[in-house]
Symmetry: C2
Subunit: 393 residues, 2 copies
């Protein structure tokens, strides 16, 4: 990414307003925002100051190839992982100490990531490195006379409003997700299994996504449910099974894609063969509800407005009792972000740069469930659809 | 899983020895160990007491189907996620309070997960829910007169030694990984890309793994590198690219598989076409080094012995300077666990129930890298190989 002055300026201002002299970051999603580089292992430390911005990244030597893209003033390496290397924590301690002295932070007010409870996996997504109590104690021990405070709210607030450059990245993440959605649409037919559909979506996003528009890192998280089991597909963690689709059954693909640290979160349904009357009615109501919610997204509108718009359409179509969940959530630096939630009672004003899902769904034990999910960015005067695969049943 | 009395007994004993009356668990990997059920979202609370063992799981209603398998005395539900449901944290607070009174814990000594920094993703692996500072404050606020302490070391120690039932689960996880390794071996040929190989391994594990031996949840984490890039394949987070294999080039698959919460971590290499002389020499040295390390694994041996055995073979074959990393690490409840590390200077005595990777590797910028990785369980008198796909170049 080229240097995102918009983000740097905003973050510096936010630190000053909160009374912080600096912030020390560890989570890849926050380092991506502040330094324009996505640490693949989650073992980098970023120092961002109110006075000078992105002053330094302390990063493991195994990520040297990743660091081209970022805008840290300095990248400082430690050897990791390698047989007989010095203890990385001791090396990082010395480097942070020296940076703190250079930037007059030894008595400063410094923020850290204390309360992130819902965290994106790094690129090596089989495990996640998080700054737990032990890390917080470690930071305190490095600069014991600094005043440390939990900067989680500040960071979430920063992340809620995306910059122009970040929205460009989310377009690319959605483009990669679109590969998987199209493949899913083309593959649903009687006899295919949930696992096979999930595999096809995975393969298509990875095979076509890596390399497109400069993309380097793609991870794909598909979940497929089918038949009457789609009634339970509102659950956050659906288990893709070996179940095979029969004629007339619905398949639902919930697809999260992470592209160089930026996330898309989309859902499509397709019937194997000929849809039934109730499937058609629900699908049409949901398409209309999604369109109404999207049309209600504009700067200045409250975040409950798009939800109400969707509910109104679904209620008029007779599906009020089949509604289970809210209509959308923030996303971008991870799969789910707190702002803006499109839900009843949320009086938060939407503003340019907010990015959210729009995902009305209805679920009925008698015939199953349907959810349609796109990603949308709030623009200066409305909403930009980031997901381009059209819905079809 | 049927009730694992061996685990329950051990954990109760460990709590008593540490002076803890109870432990409150949140991480799926620890709840899996203590309650025999793998929370798919990471939003369950488990209360395990020194006196009575696995007394209660407080779990979100969306996981009702998962709870069949566990051995909690009581499963207590809260509604999540659902539109207009009561605040789950308030519901959990009331339930934990009532459990604490019933088990005389309001003034008790209670352990929590304070310092887990390397965490397995839950089944919904696109995001990870962790107990950060905010959760720890929340627990304190629920039982303010209890004495809370960080039980991370106790939990890691418990996890280091697997029970008979847990090793049976790790055999199944390796069986699913074997599907991917075989597919990889059969698919490497000139012209195929890294992304295509990763996709094939993913698909094979998912398509064949779900349903085999009662398996319900499979997640697959493949990383493929190729050609001279394999020189850098010792890195923990390799980026699978669109690069296509040419005649005579190495492909390497690092494959992590999570099966109902139990992990396998395996690696294979294969040459597209005819291997060169140096590739053959390295491969043969590594096969011999792996065999020597595995043969050195037995109860009572120090954890550095298998490492030394591998190094000796590699050194004699002239590859000493190409060694980058240690020879193995613990695993099972996640991708990497601290015990036992097979590395120089580790005087920990291996014992029955330890499970580790055996993964010698050599890396040379002149021709690339090779790593061979199996999983092994320490038995009463030696080692059981859990990975059954044979190495072939």
């Amino acid at each position: 990414m080229s240097k995102d002055q918009q983000r740097i300026r905003r973050l510096k201002t936010a630190l000053r307003k909160t009374g912080l002299d600096a912030i020390v970051l560890r989570l890849p999603e926050n380092i991506l925002m502040a330094f324009g580089v996505w640490p693949l292992n989650g073992f980098s430390y970023g120092l961002f100051t109110a006075a000078d911005g992105p002053v330094a990244l302390i990063a493991p030597s195994c990520e040297d190839e990743e660091m081209d893209g970022g805008w840290a003033d300095h990248v400082i390496w430690f050897v990791w992982p390698r047989l007989n290397a010095p203890d990385p924590l001791e090396v990082i301690r010395a480097k942070l100490c020296s940076l703190a002295r250079r930037h007059q932070l030894t008595q400063g007010r410094i923020g850290y990531e204390g309360s992130f409870e819902l965290i994106a996996p790094p690129h090596g997504s089989g495990e996640v490195r998080v700054p737990a109590e032990s890390s917080i104690r470690y930071l305190h021990s490095i600069l014991p006379s600094a005043k440390w405070s939990d900067a989680t709210p500040l960071l979430y607030q920063q992340r809620a409003t995306k910059t122009t450059a970040e929205i460009a990245k989310l377009r690319v993440a959605n483009k990669v997700a679109d590969f998987g959605l199209k493949k899913f649409h083309d593959s649903v037919e009687p006899g295919i299994s949930e696992a096979e559909l999930a595999s096809l979506a995975y393969s298509e996003c990875l095979n076509l996504g890596v390399g497109v528009r400069g993309v380097r890192h793609v991870n794909v998280y598909p979940q497929v449910s089918s038949g009457l089991d789609t009634y339970r597909a509102w659950r956050p963690a659906v288990s893709t099974g070996r179940r095979r689709l029969q004629e007339g059954e619905i398949a639902m693909l919930e697809l999260a894609v992470c592209v160089d640290g930026f996330w898309a979160d989309v859902t499509r349904v397709k019937v194997a063969g000929r849809p039934s009357a109730v499937q058609r009615r629900a699908f049409e109501a949901l398409s209309a509800a999604q369109a109404a919610a999207t049309a209600a997204i504009r700067p200045g509108a409250t975040a409950e407005r798009p939800h109400q718009a969707a509910i109104k359409v679904l209620t008029e179509a007779g599906f009020e009792k089949q509604i289970v969940h809210i209509t959308g959530h923030g996303l971008g630096f991870c799969y789910h972000e707190p702002e803006p939630f499109l839900m009843p009672g949320n009086m938060l004003k939407l503003k340019k740069g907010h990015v959210c899902s729009v995902e009305p769904g209805v679920y009925d034990p008698a015939w199953g469930g349907i959810r349609l999910e796109n990603n949308v960015a709030v623009t200066g005067d409305g909403a930009e659809l980031l997901t381009h695969t059209s819905n079809k049943l």
